[in-house]
Amino acid sequence: MAQNKEITFPVADPNNPYAMPAAMPSSVDHAARSFAVDDFPQPNRKQDEWRYTPIERIDEFFDTFKPSGATVIEVSMIDGSALAEGITLSQVKIGDGLSGSVSKPCDRVSAVEWNSGATATVLELRGEIAQPVLVHVHGAGMDLDAFHLVIAAADNTHADVVVEHDGEARLAEGVEITTGANSHVSTTFIQEWSANAKHVANHRIHVGRNASLRHSVVTLGGDIVRIRMDQDFGGEQGDLNMLGIYFVDPGEHIEHRTMVVHNHPECKSRVVYKGALDGQGAHSTWVGNALITPNAPGTDSYELNRNLVLTPGAIADSEPNLEIENGNIIGAGHASSVGRFDDEELFYLQSRGIPETEARKLVVRGFFGELVEEIGIPAISEHLMAVIDRRLARGESDAMAQVLEDK
């Protein structure tokens, strides 16, 4: 009979899951985490995390810069009224207070954002906040700017935050989201940039014990938008739901990278990103990483990306990566697809009098609508559908815009 030998798994420090590498180091685990720009090399296309990005179009974000400060930030309730009870808004020197408390920058552009900005906007949420909070980020020109936002929800908080971006901008943005135990929070990020805007963002997300976070990203415009999201859990029974929608026009590069880390037992994550691409040179990238560390038994994770290519000449890159270091889990699934708008579907709709451009819109609206319906927070889903309809109705006749709005 073979001698039983006790195996000890390394146990990660919940405050710093990267302090101790897994027994078999995972590729994402040894990535640098640092506030110092020079701890990261200059990006190039040979590096895995930059291989899909047209880096020559965003190289102004690779070294510390002096921000213009021109970006206009307005914070109110979503109906425009003053901030409700339980919401505290403050400006702090970057690095002070809650800023810099959620993990550390994970790539060079994130470190550049941290070191370029002077202040952080901190939004603290406490208690039951009925109406969503709206953070409006209005780009006011093409001078480089930086914006750092911290969203911190206390234990047991119920709150929704919508961050809307529009206008012309070249913006480096850092967002820290931390939610307390037993909280239920949604954060929604909408990018409705002008066609020449550049937006390089990083989200660092910490989901509290027994808390749920619905994190949604809707990117509908911009010359180049790259959003990297790194998340971990703060305790058992965390529930993360990430949803993404993107619409890519000719020549645009829209990139979303989701990095989910299951570092506590019995947490659940869902990542669903859907994109539509239209026209020559439209390029989307979705990279979804999910890491399940050895100390996270009972993990339930799933990630999915669907792309709908409406016209020839568009490119959709889709890359799910799973690293599973614990066999005792409920599930770790992934799915990815790139499909074309079918000629037979188009003909069917056309044969009912619907012109080609309308037919495409109808299909795209349906494609996204299925996802938006899942949000389950009417104030958010209605807002998102309105944003999507506004995008689809660009240059639309009044009668058809009405039909789209009425559903």
Partner: protein, 259 residues
């Protein structure tokens, strides 16, 4: 009163084996209120005729013209043909995931009429039409044709026929895949729509059973890419009796061999 004139229509399809001619000189005139049955063996080009009239990109027109009240629809895109008054009820209606029937129908109605229908009247018309076709109200919220059974898809086609009120309706094997009850409901729907709007019907069919419900004024035999015989309703009975073999070109596969 409208007229649909097909004159010398020649069309082909490109296959991996090269160009395959299908329509070889089709001539036909249909007036408002008339019901024409187009019958013929498998592979004769009946369905191709239907899809070519509707403007399916797979079929390339080489010659001829199709005039709807004097306007050549062959120069139009499929949606322009629909707006001009043509409707094709398909043998295999296409599933469009994510687009609800309600939204689809209302968008189509808006395009065809050039203005959005008044919402209250539209909702009333839609639910009444669905009720007459014995369709579950839940269909309205489902995606276009997605997960519909064969019979449900055909009812949805007739529903559109009733709501969109075309000048000419082409029914491509609308009877296929229907059980007796569904065939009766669908046929009644077609008759009701015709009664209301007095459109002309081109009914492509393989079997005579639908002709018991939708009475044709004129019956045509279509073989090898063109009309070979035209007669009254009695021609259908003769076909039922004797089959299509006599109309097949010399050396062609017989009907049974194809089946």
């Amino acid at each position: 009163m409208s007229t649909l004139e097909i004159k010398g229509l020649v069309a082909h399809v490109e296959t991996k084996d090269g160009i395959k001619p299908i329509l070889k000189g089709v001539n036909l005139t249909v007036n408002s209120g008339e019901t024409h049955a187009i019958m013929g063996p498998n592979g004769s080009g009946k369905s191709t005729l239907a899809y070519t009239l509707a403007g399916h990109p797979k079929y390339v027109v080489d010659d001829g013209e199709v005039l709807l009240d004097g306007q050549d629809i062959l120069k139009m895109t499929p949606d322009e043909r629909a707006k001009a008054g043509l409707f094709l009820a398909m043998q295999y209606p296409v599933e469009v995931p994510g687009v609800s029937m309600t939204n689809f129908l209302r968008t189509a109605k808006t395009e065809i009429d050039g203005q959005a229908p008044a919402i209250r009247q539209w909702t009333k018309d839609l639910s009444a039409a669905m009720k007459r076709l014995k369709m579950d109200p839940k269909f309205a919220t489902r995606s276009v044709n997605e997960g519909f059974s064969g019979g449900e898809k055909k009812r949805a086609e007739v529903l559109q026929l009733e709501l969109l009120k075309p000048k000419f309706a082409i029914l491509d094997e609308t009877d296929s895949g229907l059980d007796v009850d569904a065939l009766r409901i669908v046929s009644e729907g077609v008759n009701r729509a015709k009664e209301a709007n007095q459109f002309g019907i081109l009914m492509v069919t393989h079997y005579t059973r639908i002709l018991k419900y939708i009475k044709p004024d004129i019956v045509h035999v279509f073989a090898d890419g063109h009309f070979v015989k035209t007669g009254g309703p009695e021609l259908a009975d003769e076909l039922e009796e004797n089959g299509y073999d006599q109309y097949l070109p010399e050396g062609a596969d017989s009907e049974s061999a194809l089946a």
